[in-house]
Structures are given as structure tokens and as C-alpha cells.
């Protein structure tokens, strides 16, 4: 009927939790820690590709969110527009991506509201990229990283030029006319650079690829990634950002060729 | 390599080659001797250096002396730098799965033959299991390898006369080993020309 009188210090602790948290032997201690730091990525997206062309920039990513090796969510959009002239392509942890979307959308709503009342300038792609870089670096410095690699593509209205830059969970930043995250850095980046340099030259001062040419290179690269990246899917979108704004394509698939598999042991149906 | 320390460098000049090494023998960070030669003659046109584990230096040196003597007796002629390189290489590869901890450097002037009346100066180097490279400029090995690469890349130029080659290889070696805690304590340089071999011992920093 009556509660047993508790020992003076047993029912309260610094955090006012009850019952008292107990660290069990043999279990990893961080499961009971006060704050959930140092996550590991769980549901992940693979490569994102980015490529500048004569009238803007394109970013491509497939529609898969994997759970380990399981192709868990096959219709996820990993391209996220922010305002009229900026777009993120996100690889890495998808729940961090969703959190990031929520935060940035909230920020952009505030900016939109400000823009209504006075001559408040809208955030440029550079502004958004700088903010992301600071956020990612601050979080890595708290040993609580945002587990993503992000390509920021955009159109700078003031300078009238395209914008393409990278930032990741370490706060590492860089820009280049062609960019790729993860596996794409190994498989697609050489193809993108080859196509870009074939026209623009190694210093990038020649003519850039046209929109059609750029899209072809990205289509080819996404196909290569589908063939060789086991965490990819043959369903992807390409976002195009120009002075006119952001447009994200419908999901599309590459034409793949598997006839060669017939003759290879271990690929197709085998009789012996 | 890091047990005893030591470095060797070889360079090609105009009708001459040079090979040089430091003289340190160490026991990890402790210097033990400052007269540990790592460069040995095969004949008066061919020298080789053996930087690496000191005990293997002796073993390999004696082993190679035996095999070169056998070659001399069977063939009744001197071994060429190229053939000697392959001899060293196969000797190392025999111990593929328990290697000598040595990265040899070979430098020599091939003698003219009927087939090859104007042979070029020759240098080569190998990894611990005998994979050969034959550079056209210089070869480096030992604990100061990366430093030697940096200085040699900056100082070396083609077609150096013997005395200029001596200055280049000496400066390369001395400045490289001065930045390496495991190499130094004196140096020795051999300049091989068709006429003679000039051997000079260099004074160096002793810290």
C-alpha cells in the first residue's frame, strides 16, 4: 500500500530520471548515455553527381535509400530544391537528410517572410552553401556529425554564373566544374572530367557542354554507376538549375544490356 | 630498414656513374658505428650499395661475391651491370616469402662490345624482393629515400662531367642525410669513369 521508503539518494539523480539508468555489463555503454552522439549511418543514399554546363548546372542522384545491403526505399527523392535558384543533392544518411530539409525549409520560410516586407535579398546558392558548411563543421566539431555528403548546385543571379560545390560530414568543402560523391568519385568523376575537359580544356576556359551534352554524360555516368555500384538502382532524377530556376526531371531509367551475361558462369541461368 | 638505418644514392653522368652512401650503423636511434660501408665493388667498372638490415648486408654481400666469382669462372669474363642487376634480383626473389631487408642500388659502366660499341652508363635499383627499375637519372634507397628524391630531383641535370657529378651526388647525399635521424655520420662517394674509380670520404655532421 505504501511505497517503500527509498534510500535518500536512490530515486533522484542529476537528470531526474526514474528508474535510475543502469549500465549493464557487456552492453555497449553509449546505449545509455545522456545524449545520442556518434551515430552511424543507417538508411543511406549512394552517389550524387554534379556537372556545370553552358547555361547552368545539373545534379543527378538515384531514387534508392538502402538499409545496409537491402534496397529498402526505392522511390526516395534525394534532390531537394531550396528557393528558386538552389538545389541540394544529398548522399549518406537519409534521416539526417530529412532533418536537414526540415531545418533549411524553415529557414527559407523565414527568409521568404522577410522578403515580403522589405527589400530583403533572397539567399544566394553561395549563402546556403556557406551556411551548410558552417553547420557541418560545427556538428563534426561537437563529435556529432550530420552524416551526409552534399552537392549544392545553383545559379548566382548577381554574378550570372552557375554554382557547384561540395560539403560533407567532416566540414570538408571544395568546388570544381564536375563533382561526385562516394562511389561516383571513383566511377563517374573520370567520365565527367573527360567530357568537360574535351570541350572546355583543362583550364575550363573553353566553351562548356550544352544542356543536351551534359544530360547525356550524366545519363551515361548513372548507367555506369548502376552497373557497378551495388547500392544503386536504375531509377534516377536529374535536376537542372539555370537562370530560369530549378527543374527536377521525372524519374528515369537507363537502357541496360545484359546479353553478355548469357555466356558468363555466375551471371545468368546456368545449366551446369 | 629502420633498425640499422642508412641510405644509398646513385647517379648517371656523361660517360660516368656515381654511387654514394652514408657510413652510419645504428641500433634504432642509437648510433653504433660511423664506418659502416654499404657500397661494394664487383669490379673496377661496377659497384653496388646495400642499404637496409646490417646482418643482411653481410650475408647478401658474401652471397653475391660467391655468385659473381662462379659467373667469372664459368663465363671467363666480367659480369655486366645489367646481368649483375638480374643476378641480385633473382637472389632476392629466391627469398620471396622471407626476404632480405635490403633495397640494393647498382651502378656501373658497361664495357664496349662488338654488339654494343657505345654502351650507356647504367644504374638500377630493386625493392626487397627484387623488382627492378632502371632509371635514366638517379636511383635512391634507404631510410632517407624521400629526402634523397627531393634533393636529387632539384639538383641533378643530364650529362654531368665526373667532377660535377661528384659535387651533385655529394650535396644530394649530405643534405638528405642531415634531415634523416637514421642516416649520416659520414659518407663515401665513388665516381666510376672509364679511366679510373675516384673514391672520396666526406666529412659530415655527426649528430
Amino acid at each position: 500500500m505504501w511505497k517503500q521508503p527509498a534510500p535518500a539518494n536512490s530515486s533522484f539523480n542529476d537528470y531526474n530520471t526514474f528508474p535510475l539508468p543502469q549500465t549493464q555489463r557487456g552492453q555497449s555503454s553509449h546505449a545509455h548515455g545522456p545524449v545520442g552522439h556518434t551515430q552511424q549511418p543507417l538508411v543511406t543514399g549512394t552517389s550524387v553527381l554534379g556537372l556545370k554546363f553552358d547555361k547552368g548546372v545539373m545534379i543527378a542522384a538515384d531514387n534508392l535509400a538502402s538499409y545496409g545491403s537491402l534496397a529498402r526505399f526505392r522511390d526516395i527523392q534525394r534532390l531537394h530544391p531550396l528557393g528558386k535558384h538552389t538545389l541540394l543533392g544529398v548522399a549518406g544518411d537519409m534521416s539526417d537528410f530529412q532533418w536537414l530539409k526540415k531545418e533549411l525549409d524553415a529557414l527559407l520560410r523565414e527568409e521568404d517572410a522577410l522578403a515580403l516586407s522589405d527589400s530583403h535579398p533572397s539567399l544566394s546558392p553561395k549563402n546556403i552553401y556557406e551556411l551548410l558548411s558552417n553547420l557541418f563543421y560545427a556538428r563534426r566539431s561537437k563529435m556529432n556529425p550530420v552524416w551526409n555528403a552534399v552537392l549544392v548546385g545553383g545559379w548566382d543571379k548577381v554574378k550570372e554564373e552557375s554554382f557547384l560545390a561540395y560539403v560533407d560530414l567532416l566540414g570538408t568543402t571544395y568546388t570544381a566544374p564536375t563533382l561526385a560523391t562516394g562511389f561516383g568519385a571513383h566511377l563517374a568523376q573520370p567520365l565527367l572530367r573527360e567530357a568537360f575537359e574535351a570541350k572546355a580544356g583543362i583550364n575550363g576556359d573553353g566553351p562548356l557542354l550544352t544542356q543536351e551534352e551534359a544530360e547525356k554524360v550524366l545519363d551515361d555516368s548513372m548507367k555506369v554507376l548502376f552497373y557497378r555500384d551495388a547500392r544503386s538502382i536504375n531509377k534516377y532524377q536529374i535536376a537542372t538549375i539555370t537562370a530560369e530556376g530549378v527543374s527536377i526531371s521525372d524519374s528515369k531509367s537507363s537502357d541496360t544490356y545484359w546479353k553478355f551475361a548469357e555466356g558468363l558462369r555466375g551471371y545468368g541461368a546456368q545449366t551446369q | 630498414m629502420e633498425l640499422n638505418g642508412g641510405s644509398v644514392v646513385a647517379m648517371i653522368g656523361k660517360d660516368c656513374v656515381a654511387i654514394a652512401s652514408d657510413l652510419r650503423l645504428g641500433n634504432q636511434a642509437v648510433g653504433v658505428a660511423s664506418n659502416f660501408d654499404k657500397v661494394f665493388p664487383v669490379n673496377d667498372k661496377l659497384y653496388y650499395g646495400l642499404p637496409g638490415l646490417a646482418t643482411d648486408v653481410y650475408t647478401l654481400k658474401e652471397h653475391l661475391r660467391f655468385r659473381v666469382n662462379m659467373y667469372r669462372m664459368k663465363e671467363e669474363r666480367e659480369i655486366t651491370p645489367k646481368t649483375f642487376t638480374h643476378l641480385v634480383s633473382s637472389t632476392l626473389y629466391e627469398k620471396r616469402f622471407g626476404p632480405f631487408f635490403i633495397e640494393p642500388v647498382v651502378a656501373g659502366l658497361p664495357t664496349a662490345t662488338e654488339l654494343d660499341p657505345h654502351p650507356k652508363p647504367f644504374i638500377s635499383t630493386m625493392d626487397t624482393i627484387g623488382c627492378i627499375t632502371t632509371p635514366k637519372d638517379f636511383a635512391v634507397a634507404g631510410t632517407a629515400q624521400d629526402k634523397l628524391y627531393g634533393v636529387a630531383e632539384g639538383l641533378w641535370e643530364p650529362d654531368l662531367e665526373p667532377e660535377d657529378l661528384f659535387e651533385t651526388i655529394s650535396q644530394t647525399l649530405l643534405n638528405a642525410v642531415d634531415r634523416d635521424a637514421l642516416s649520416g655520420w659520414g659518407a663515401v662517394v665513388h665516381i666510376i669513369t672509364h679511366k679510373e674509380v675516384i673514391t672520396r670520404t666526406l666529412r659530415a655532421r655527426m649528430d
Partner: protein, 272 residues
């Protein structure tokens, strides 16, 4: 008996397949090299522009050398995210100083400030090697080099980064005249008195050598030259006296301008 006081592990504890602890590593190494040489009335600070991670080149143009004010240039090398964010904080502190004291901070004071800033993060260091170059208050060219936690000294020259081991012994020989002695009867070698043209070719040679033998060095070279007030810049601006392939531009004064001039010399390096 003590032998049996604890039951054998095999049946009390399930063989816990403990999840492999992935501790987040907040650092990365982005390669590249930097170098600085002090002259009598000038200072040169140089760095390559390649940024890499492992065997991947992230970008062929990323800045490692930063103009701080009219008499100071800072080169950073190591973990790029730490580098950019450290420079950001240094610049902020310099701005605060200007507001408080109505003059730019002197070079030796910047050096001491950098020490305290680096040591301030002694237990979560900036993984960055810094080299500060510029003009001292007495008008002499100066170079200060730092380790990641703030140890520093003033020197006539210093190389750092991935190719430090290739560059530094070469500089010992050519700048400090180590292992060299003048011919009998001729003048003694004094370090720190070389003419600008000689210093520039030594910088270029150092980087072409490092590019040749180190995979993390290449793509481009940026050399900042800071000159004492009143010094003639003819030796730099005369194209005939300059090695082919070098491009010079003068960077305008950042502050009030006390007469020191900063120039940026660029050259391309091999991209393989």
C-alpha cells in the same frame, strides 16, 4: 575452488557478437604542400592547389595560401576543413584588432596570436601545419612556422605538408647553404639575402620536384610575394626577368595601405 567460483563463460554469456564500434573520426588528410622563404625586404609564401583524400583528387583548385592583411600571408596545410575554419577565425581576430586599435596587427603579434589560438585547442587540435610569411615592423621579410598545437619559431625558410621531406633538405642546401662553403677568398654565404628572382625559381623548382615524386602534390602553384614599402617591384613585373609560364597580378591593399605590396604569382603544375 577459485577455479569454479565463476562458471565458465561459455554458457552464462552468449558469445556477444558485439557490434564493431565505429568511432567517428573527425579528421582527414587532404595532402598538398606549402613553403615560405624570407628575403631581406620581401617574403614569399607558396602552396600547390591540389586537394585530395586518399587516392582521389577532390579538386584541382583549392586555396591553401591566404592574404591576411597588407603585410601578412598565411599558408595552411593538413586537414582542409580545419584550415579554412582556422583562417576564418584568424581573419576575424585581425578585424577585431583593427577596430580596437585602428591599425593592422603586426606580423610578430599575429604569430603569437596564432600560437594561442592553436594551443587553445590543444586537446582537440586543428590538424593543420601553418606557415606565416610577411613583412615585420622593421621592414624585414619574415617567416614563422607552427606545429598543429602552436609551437612556433621565426625562420628564413620552411616547407611543410605531404612533401616536406622532399622540399626541406633542398631548402637547407639552397637557402641556408648547408654543406656548402665559399671558394677560398670569396665572401661568406649569408642566408636570407637571396634576390627575389632566385627565390622564385627555387620555389618553382621545389614544387616541380615535389610534383614529380609525390602523388599528392600538383595541378597548380600559387606564390604570394609580400614586399617592403617603397621597394621596387620591377624584378617581379618585368616579364623578361620572369621564368616562362609564370603569371603575376598585384593584389590591392586590404586596409588603409601603409605601402607594403602583395603580389600573386601563379603557375600550372603537372596534373598526373
Amino acid at each position: 575452488m577459485a577455479l569454479y567460483s565463476q562458471p565458465p563463460m561459455s554458457y552464462t554469456q552468449e558469445p556477444t557478437t558485439a557490434p564493431v564500434e565505429h568511432r567517428f573520426n573527425p579528421y582527414s588528410d587532404n595532402g598538398g604542400s606549402i613553403l615560405a622563404i624570407a628575403g631581406k625586404d620581401f617574403s614569399v609564401i607558396a602552396g600547390d592547389t591540389r586537394q585530395s583524400e586518399g587516392y582521389s583528387i577532390q579538386t584541382r583548385y583549392a586555396r591553401k595560401v591566404w592574404q591576411l592583411n597588407d603585410k601578412a600571408v598565411l599558408a595552411t596545410n593538413g586537414f582542409a576543413a580545419d584550415g579554412t575554419n582556422f583562417v576564418k577565425r584568424v581573419k576575424q581576430r585581425l578585424e577585431w584588432y583593427e577596430h580596437a586599435h585602428h591599425k593592422p596587427m603586426g606580423l610578430k603579434s599575429i604569430a603569437r596570436m596564432i600560437q594561442t589560438m592553436l594551443y587553445g585547442k590543444r586537446f582537440f587540435p586543428y590538424y593543420v601545419y601553418n606557415i606565416l610569411g610577411g613583412i615585420e615592423e622593421d621592414g624585414t621579410g619574415a617567416v614563422y612556422s607552427f606545429d598543429p598545437v602552436g609551437s612556433y619559431e621565426r625562420e628564413a625558410c620552411r616547407g611543410a605538408g605531404a612533401a616536406q621531406s622532399l622540399i626541406q633538405p633542398f631548402l637547407d642546401n639552397q637557402i641556408y647553404f648547408k654543406n656548402q662553403q665559399p671558394e677560398a677568398g670569396s665572401e661568406k654565404f649569408v642566408p636570407g639575402n637571396l634576390p627575389l628572382s632566385t627565390v622564385l625559381s627555387l620555389v618553382v623548382d621545389s614544387f616541380t620536384s615535389a610534383t614529380e615524386r609525390h602523388i599528392e602534390v600538383g595541378d597548380g602553384l600559387e606564390i604570394y610575394v609580400v614586399m617592403q614599402k617603397g621597394r621596387s617591384a620591377d624584378d617581379l613585373l618585368d616579364e623578361k626577368k620572369l621564368a616562362p609560364g609564370l603569371k603575376v597580378e598585384e593584389l590591392g591593399a586590404l586596409g588603409e595601405g601603409e605601402g607594403e605590396r602583395t603580389f600573386l604569382v601563379r603557375q600550372s603544375l603537372k596534373r598526373d
